[in-house]
């Protein structure tokens, strides 16, 4: 009864959860208020008939490579992957010989919509820099769906992405996972029944932003004190919110029927713990595992501090983001089942990024049960995560680590899906998964690779050869500067 609707997203309940993602005010009886969604997804897949992509090199995202293989999409799902598939007579057949097919690319770290283009002051909606602990803010409430970056990312094969608050705050707020389809509201992009993320940040950013104002935190120890204070509040809140003992209290003859003075008994749902607190809702949801924790953290020592913090308060870290020193603790990350969402080569822009190396992702990927992810944190990088992965493969080879394309693609598909709690529904080309697919002009791990067609839930949402399937933001309409004029 108390388990929220979204409990176990990414686990067995998912299929059911999709159906159940009926609007909103999901009944309090079925969802913890921590994860009730008053701003529910209105996403609807674009209608599409069956599609048979034929004769391609297929990287399934689950570790396999199939040559001269077909992918059949129907009713928005992957139906089959294999050689010489049979398809319904009404299927659209696409000759993909010479092409490569991968699952749709997933970026676990984007600020599209919250720091959109054009990057004017009025658009700076990604950091609630008015206090270091703001788990009450939700990135989705800042998302501008007309950010032209969404369409640019789509042309790079991005089919799902998590929009996160920025890293100014110790606890920055909730992230939201979107399907990368053009829409006039973010709700119409919202990945149905995907769990929220909780954005936290280590290191220099919070202590710089607040320390420079002479308010806490001003140091790394101040950072940790800030997390702990917040989670102590959340633990208390959670304790008060817990359902009362199953056995009903026996009413004694001397007891009146009046409500107890402390007010707890006034809670008809037995789970509110008093006045609702948006900050603590989010943190409680994180402790319960219904909101997945994503931590911006560069240094190895700080990541280990955060792993201890997670143990102290009983939450799990889904992924460390940026983690330029993740290679120093690759074994521990794998052993604890924590993903590393990393760049290929960015480093040195601040002190905590000074130890970046180009083999970071490859080394994090090496241990058993690892979860290496290529992320962008950039409106430019998100357009070519495949190229970022290519850099890693090339430099890993130089260091004696050979990584096959069918393994590397998991950094962009299966692993980010897992980190976002949507791994049972997308991220691989397995029957029953969402029909999120990219057809590339060749091996995707090259600077010359281009996404030729992109499918989301079986619908062709981008086609490099078909202008009718190339979405364009409202912002770009009627802009003389975008016209080619007499130049070409």
């Amino acid at each position: 009864m108390f388990r929220p609707l979204l409990a176990g997203c990414g686990l067995a309940l998912l299929a059911g959860a999709v159906q159940a993602a009926t609007p909103a005010s999901a009944s309090p009886a079925s969802a913890s208020r921590f994860t009730q969604d008053p701003y529910p997804s209105t996403y609807k897949a674009i209608a599409a008939g069956p599609v048979l992509l034929q004769h391609a090199t297929v990287l399934t995202g689950a570790g396999q490579r199939l040559d001269d293989a077909d992918v059949l999409l129907r009713d928005g799902k992957v139906v089959a992957v294999g050689r010489a598939l049979e398809a319904p007579s009404d299927a659209t057949r696409v000759d993909a010989s010479g092409k490569w097919i991968t699952p749709g690319i997933i970026d676990v770290h984007s600020h599209l919509g919250v720091y959109p283009s054009p990057g004017v002051g009025a658009h700076a909606d990604g950091n609630e820099m008015t206090g270091p602990v703001t788990p009450n803010v939700w990135a989705e409430h800042s998302v501008w769906p007309q950010d032209p970056g969404f369409a640019a990312a789509l042309a790079g094969g991005i089919t799902s992405l998590q929009i996160l608050p920025g890293s100014a705050n110790l606890i920055g707020g909730r992230g939201v996972t979107l399907k990368n389809v053009p829409a006039t509201s973010y709700q119409a992009m919202k990945f149905p029944a995907a769990p929220w993320g909780l954005k936290m940040a280590c290191g220099e950013n919070p202590k710089r932003v607040y320390g420079s104002r002479n308010t806490p935190p001003g140091t790394r120890m101040g950072n940790v004190a800030g997390y702990r204070a917040a989670f102590i509040d959340a633990s208390e809140y959670l304790r008060k919110s817990a359902p009362k003992a199953a056995a009903p209290q026996k009413k004694r003859w001397w007891q009146s029927s009046a409500k107890p003075a402390n007010g707890n008994g006034a809670d008809s749902e037995k789970d509110t713990g008093g006045k609702r607190d948006l900050k603590l809702d989010t943190l409680a949801g994180a402790i319960k595992g219904d909101i997945l924790v994503h931590i911006h953290c560069y240094r190895a020592d700080e990541m280990t501090t955060m792993l201890d913090l997670a143990k102290e308060f009983g939450f799990k870290v889904s992924a460390f983001h940026h983690g330029v020193e993740a290679y120093k603790i690759a074994d521990r990350l794998a052993a604890e089942g924590v993903c590393g969402a990393l760049w290929a080569d960015w480093w040195g822009f601040k002190m905590e990024a000074f130890d970046g190396i180009q083999e970071n992702i490859a080394i994090v990927d090496r241990p058993a049960n690892s979860c290496a992810i290529v992320h962008s944190d950039s409106e430019e990088g998100i357009q070519r995560l495949n190229q970022e992965a290519a850099k890693v493969i090339a430099h890993a080879r130089l260091a004696g680590i050979d990584i096959a394309p069918e393994r590397a693609i998991r950094w962009l598909t299966q692993n980010p899906a897992k980190a976002l709690g949507i791994g049972e529904r997308t991220g691989t080309l397995e029957p029953g998964k969402m029909g999120d697919v990219v057809v590339w002009n060749g091996n995707p791990f090259s600077v010359y690779a281009k996404a030729e067609q992109v499918y989301v839930d079986g619908a062709r949402v981008y086609d490099r050869a078909d202008p009718s399937r190339q979405p364009k933001s409202d912002f770009l309409l009627g802009q003389p500067a975008t016209q080619t004029g007499g130049v070409r």
């Binding site: 040195g348 601040k350 430099h395 016209q483």
Partner: protein, 448 residues
């Protein structure tokens, strides 16, 4: 030429330094093998059977040899014979290019971007936003630190030289100051002439009274002063004596002025203004430059673009396009590459060129944008940016297509010497690449 940081690489040393992984690499085995059989101190090097991308009118030569002696290229052609004692490197058909231009960067001018104590790329002597100080004589190359860890990091990726850029900040002016070309060989001094940097458009607004129009007003005033139409000591005078003579030098076509500018309207004004003053200019950024491609070609203005800038990231580049480079080139503009602010990751410049090629730029022009075009624009074409007799032997042997991020530099030569393919980053990599041996990793590898 025997500069610090570029000790001659003995072949035995190379083999020893190569991490286990490197030694396993079939690609490098050939190179090291070839190396090991010849004298360590060889002054002459013959690189045999390469696909030589000369970045000259000669274009690309398959199965060609390059002979290096005394630090310069002696000959390029087929079937060259090795002088006695020459070191011979078998390239096995792999691409050989000149070392690449790393773009306009602050390599050696900043160690950690976020730490002010390590950053030297701007001058701002005025009091905050209220006061403009104009110091064209500011020469940022004097702060260049050849011991920066950024230098080996870029160098082992085939980046052999860069143009040090100058930034702008409140308390300074839109006339940022001068930079120059540094070769990333660990030497202390720039090569070639100084280059003056001016910032226009939105990024100069805070330095021009909040209007783009005032940027031309200020520049005209400075020219009047340099030409003596505003007397020293006049209340409108902004320059020091050194500033006047520096600016004058550039006014008569005596030097290259790089304008940071994106918006087509600003570029149009720039072309008119520079024609009026007969300036030799280049453009950095040029987000909307493609919209004035014929005019830029006619004025012979090289443009250094970032082909990855395809979003309307601000109102100065609503017309940003992946095809910027291709369209400019199709109109005859000399196109080079630079990613604004990329110093630590200057190596990314290859990705810029590769994406421009993917978006329609001919491959040879992609390479030219990292070699010949910047070398000619910044006055160092006689030294770097081409493989031809007499050029410095600054060369890179690649595992494959140098414009593809899927390939890497296998060996870099500076002045004909094979550099050690090591950096702080490869040191870190090797420290953490191998398994736990009981001792903390802070101890030297053999001890662990």
């Amino acid at each position: 030429m025997n500069r610090r940081g570029i000790e001659p690489l003995s072949c035995a040393v190379a083999a020893n330094l190569a991490p286990r992984g490197l030694r396993r690499s079939a690609l490098l085995l050939a190179l090291l093998g070839a190396c090991a059989s010849f004298g360590a101190a060889a002054q002459n090097v013959l690189i045999r059977n390469a696909t030589v991308h000369t970045a000259t009118a000669q274009g690309s030569l398959e199965h060609a040899d390059v002979l290096v002696g005394n630090g310069v290229v002696r000959a390029v052609g087929k079937g060259l014979s090795a002088p006695a004692g020459a070191q011979v490197v078998e390239a096995e058909g792999r691409p050989l290019t000149p070392t690449l231009f790393g773009g306009i960067t602050e390599i050696g001018l900043e160690e950690v971007s976020g730490e002010k104590s390590t950053v030297d790329q701007t001058v701002a002597l005025g009091a905050d936003t209220k006061e403009m100080t104009v110091r064209p004589e500011f020469d940022v190359t004097l702060a260049y630190n050849p011991d920066s860890v950024l230098i080996p990091v870029a160098r082992i990726e085939g980046i052999g030289w860069t143009l040090l850029g100058v930034g702008t900040a409140t308390g300074g002016s839109i006339v940022a100051g001068q930079g120059g070309v540094e070769r990333l060989d660990g030497g202390p001094d720039p090569i070639g002439p100084r280059v003056l940097f001016v910032r226009l458009g939105k990024d100069g607004l805070g330095l021009s009274g909040s209007s783009r129009a005032a940027q031309w007003m200020i520049l005209d005033q400075l020219i009047d002063e340099a030409r003596g139409r505003i007397a020293p000591g006049h209340h409108a005078a902004l320059l020091t004596p050194a500033g006047r003579s520096t600016l004058l030098k550039y006014l008569d076509g005596g030097g290259r002025i790089v304008f940071g500018v994106d918006r087509a309207a600003d570029i149009r004004q720039l072309l008119r203004w520079s024609a009026r003053h007969r300036l030799r200019i280049a453009i950095a950024g040029g987000g909307e430059a493609w919209r004035l491609a014929p005019q830029l070609a006619a004025a012979k203005v090289p443009v250094f673009v970032n082909p990855l800038s395809n979003l309307p990231s601000d109102f100065d580049q609503v017309g940003a396009s992946m095809e910027n480079a291709a369209r400019l080139r199709a109109s005859g503009v000399a196109v080079g590459f630079s990613e604004g602010g990329a110093s630590h990751n200057a190596r990314k410049v290859r990705q810029l060129a590769g994406n421009a090629v993917a978006a329609g730029l001919p491959w040879a022009d992609g390479l030219a944008g990292l070699t010949r075009v910047p070398a000619e624009a910044f006055g160092v074409a006689g030294q770097v940016g081409a493989i031809a007799p007499g050029q410095r032997a600054d060369l890179v042997l690649w595992s494959g297509d140098p414009l593809d991020v899927a390939q890497v530099a296998l060996q870099v030569w500076m002045d004909g010497r094979a550099i050690e393919m090591r950096s702080r980053q490869t040191e870190l990599r090797d420290r953490y690449l191998h398994g736990d041996t009981g001792l903390p990793r802070a101890y030297p590898a053999p001890a662990r």
